[in-house]
């Protein structure tokens, strides 16, 4: 498979109609094709907004966000996990997956759902799922169309530790073989330590990149000890700004 | 003075008579007081009579006959013989009824309108064919027919007399009146199509007041028939205040329809017309009756 797109984020200013202080002002961020970036930062700093801008959903800002040479809004659909599950309640779980890829066959649906621990739930409406199950369904939907760009807003929340490990494995497999570019927002340093090859810490208002750390050891070959070190490093960093 | 409530269509031609009646003081003379409940259209009159809100309305004889047939005890005393007619533009190529073949006729009311039924019967008697098949008919409200005739979107109009009077005043020509058609069909005398209508309960309980009112009405008619002066005050009511030609047309046509006498024992014309209507109009016009219901014309009064 081809590598994921490179990203070039240059936000001159992003202010919400109601806000006075801009959320972003002169933010620059370049992301290499196929890399996985963990986006860290305190609650309310602008992480979700950044993902929305990169996804081309929110176009109300000055500046330019380029995905693979094209304007973000014109780039192909990213795989997006919103901060809430945002499943359409009138579609079954399977229907929600087919929303992302109308051509998704029965088998592919089965396989995808099984990979997030929801085997056999394709015909249930979302309200029959528990909170954590809904989030997993949302993750499955984001992956359904094999997107080249993954934008995941706290994808592992509401999952028990065993499931989190499973999801880590799932993503590791995907990131290494498929090579999509990924932005993952998470408050758990562990997620970054396992999945990312770069961590970006946002802080302040307007938000700025206060730390930009390469996690150089290729994630497949990281030992548990190395992961623990990364984790402690990131936690310490976050503690300073939080 | 006893009070009688009349439910009358606002701006209807009947108001001309009432206005004259009051102007002549004939109500006082006969010891009654008339209260007018204005109504917006004829359907409102029927509702008003049935709900007891008024004592007397104006309606046509088929309605009364059909109501009697259905068990509602209403009766009438004739008020007017005025009928409509077939009207065409002055330069029309239609010179006689058979020329209607292939034309478009605008009919006031609907397929069950009395004039339309009679025209069909007349056409049939002349040509042996069915007018409804030979010509295109369009049905609509009376003013709409005049409007469409004026605009040239129909070739002939079959309308009520006062609408025809207006059309005539604007230069249209009446080809033949319904009375003439009836005559040709063998109804020698014009039938009294419209009459004062009341329930028999009213007639019984208030026979005297009713009689007084009918006396006043016939007196007024006599004056209107004979005396031009009585018309003078009516022009605004007739909507002809500044149109002498229209005024004269309306007055003359009105006079032509005035009922001078009433003998409940002689209803030959009405019975004949009813039978004719029943034969050609069918159940839409007269429900399931074939004969004028006995007692349609009130026996409690004669003039």
């Amino acid at each position: 498979m081809a590598r994921g797109p490179g990203l070039s984020v240059a936000i001159a200013e992003k202010t919400f109609p109601s806000g006075s202080v801009p959320l972003f002002s002169g933010l620059r961020l370049d992301i290499a094709p196929g890399s996985t970036v963990a986006v860290l930062g305190p609650s309310g700093v602008g992480k979700s907004t950044l993902l929305r801008l990169v996804a081309g959903i929110d176009t109300d800002f000055s500046g330019r966000i380029v995905v693979d040479g094209r304007d973000a809004a014109l780039a192909p659909a990213p795989g997006f996990v919103f901060q809430d599950p945002r499943l359409l309640p009138w579609l079954t779980v399977g229907g929600n997956l087919r929303l992302a890829d109308p051509a998704l066959g029965v088998e592919a649906t089965d396989r995808l759902l099984a990979s997030v621990g929801l085997a056999g739930r394709q015909d249930d409406f979302p309200h029959r799922l528990s909170g954590g199950m809904q989030r997993r369904a949302a993750l499955a939907r984001a992956l359904a169309a094999n997107p080249r760009l993954l934008l995941l807003d706290e994808p592992f929340v509401s999952l028990d530790p065993a499931l989190v490990r499973e999801m880590h494995q799932l993503l590791l497999g995907l990131l290494d073989t498929g090579g999509p570019t990924a932005l993952i927002v998470s408050h758990a340093a562990e997620d970054a330590a396992r999945l990312a090859d770069r961590a970006v810490l946002l802080a302040g208002r307007p938000a700025r990149v206060v730390a930009d750390i390469p996690l150089e050891r290729p994630r497949r070959s990281r030992s548990e000890a190395e992961i623990a070190v990364y984790r402690l490093e990131l936690e310490a960093l976050a503690a300073k700004t939080g | 003075r006893e009070i009688l409530v009349l439910g009358l269509q606002e701006s209807g031609t009947v108001l001309w008579e009432i206005e004259a009646l009051q102007a002549l003081g004939l109500d006082e003379k006969h010891g009654i007081e008339l209260q007018i409940r204005p109504l917006a259209d004829s359907r409102a009159g029927q509702i008003a009579l049935q709900s007891g809100a008024v004592d007397v309305i104006l309606s046509d004889f088929t309605w009364v006959s059909v109501q009697r047939g259905k068990g509602t005890e209403v009766a009438m005393v004739p008020h007017s013989l005025a009928v409509g007619g077939l009207i065409v533009p002055a330069d029309s190529a239609i010179g006689a009824v058979p020329d209607l073949k292939g034309r478009t006729i605008g009919v006031a009311g609907g397929p069950a309108d009395k004039s339309w039924v009679i025209l069909q019967a007349y056409y049939n008697s002349l040509t042996g064919a069915a007018l409804a098949e030979d010509a295109g008919a369009r049905f609509g409200a009376p003013p709409l027919i005049n409007e469409l005739l004026g605009a040239g979107s129909i070739d002939a109009g079959l309308n009520f007399w006062h609408w025809n009077a207006r059309a005539k005043a604007e230069g249209m020509v009446e080809l033949i009146s319904v009375a003439e058609m009836l005559a040709a069909l063998g109804v020698a005398e014009p039938p009294p199509l419209l009459g004062w209508t009341f329930t028999e309960a009213t007639a019984e309980a208030r026979g005297e007041a009713l009689g007084a009112f009918l006396d006043a009405s016939f007196d007024t008619k006599a004056v209107l028939l004979a005396d031009d002066a009585a018309w003078e005050g009516l022009a605004p009511l007739m909507g002809a205040a500044d149109d002498p030609a229209l005024f004269a047309q309306l007055r003359d046509d009105y006079r032509a329809g005035i009922v001078a006498h009433y003998d409940p024992a002689d209803q030959h014309a009405a019975e004949q017309s009813f039978a004719l209507l029943a034969r050609f109009g069918g159940s839409d016009l007269v429900a399931d009756q074939t004969q004028l219901a006995p007692g349609t014309f009130w026996a409690g009064y004669a003039r």
Binding site: R86, G95, H127 | G110, A141, L148
Partner: protein
């Protein structure tokens, strides 16, 4: 199970109540359902009931489809584009409140006393109502799901079908249910004003005789058709489309 029983009971119960009331009051202008049924039979076998019904159904059906289609499309446009909504806000109010009689006069004079004029008049009368209802629905569409649709880059038609329509469904259903009944009522009025047949025309004629049994017979047969629509089309469609909501309850 119980659902079907209650639904099946609804109409008989109404008829029973009607019969009881008619028997208590026993008035010529208040016929019993039995009398009305006989009348329907009579009118259908000997009269023109079926032909009239067909005429009216055709007119009402055509007007319904046109009015709903136009109204939904315009409602969506006005709900989404604020400037258009504002610019035409007064037009809509005027359109809503234009009496049928004026529309009828204007159209009958322009288009003549034709079926086309009648159908156009009904559509003109009904469209503003659909617009208003659908517009409220569009205004209350969830911006969250909008974001989702944008993130997924859903093409317009899929977005409409999968994201917008399910949310608009309650409004469409309200517009359809009220719409069908309004359209038939307006058709009645226009048929009285100028046409050569149809339920409204015949009801007008019957009204001349105060033939209440006949009027009710005609009305009842039309209502039976609407009931058939409701139970045969609308309710099943609604159940299918809103299965997710029922599943939840």
């Amino acid at each position: 199970m119980r659902r079907q029983v209650l639904e099946a009971l609804s109409l008989p119960l109404l008829l029973l109540l009607w019969q009881a009331l008619a028997m208590i009051f026993s008035h010529r202008l208040f016929p019993t359902p039995v009398a009305v049924t006989q009348e329907i039979w009579l009118l259908a076998s000997e009269g023109r009931l079926l032909a009239d019904l067909a005429k009216t159904l055709l007119r009402a059906g055509a007007a319904f489809v046109l009015a709903m289609g136009l109204g939904i499309a315009l409602g969506i446009v006005l709900g989404r584009t604020a400037w258009a909504d504002r610019l035409f806000s007064a037009w809509l109010v005027v359109g809503l409140n234009l009496p049928a009689i004026i529309v009828a006069i204007v159209l009958y004079i322009w288009l003549g006393l034709t079926d086309l004029a009648l159908i156009v008049a009904v559509v003109v009368n009904k469209v503003p109502l659909v617009i208003v209802t659908i517009r409220e629905g569009v205004r209350s569409l969830s911006p969250d799901y909008d974001e989702l649709a944008r993130a997924l880059r859903l093409p317009f038609r899929r977005r409409l079908r999968l994201v917008a329509v399910p949310q608009l469904m309650p409004f469409v259903l309200a517009a359809a249910r009220t719409g069908l009944s309004l359209i038939w009522k307006i058709v009645l009025v226009f048929e009285v004003l100028g046409s050569d047949g149809g339920v409204g025309y015949r009801v007008g004629v019957m009204f001349q005789f105060f033939d209440v049994t006949g009027i009710i017979a005609y009305t009842a047969s039309f209502i039976l058709v609407v009931l058939a629509c409701e139970y045969g089309v609308l309710l099943p469609a609604e159940r299918r489309v809103l299965a997710w909501r029922a599943d939840r309850a």
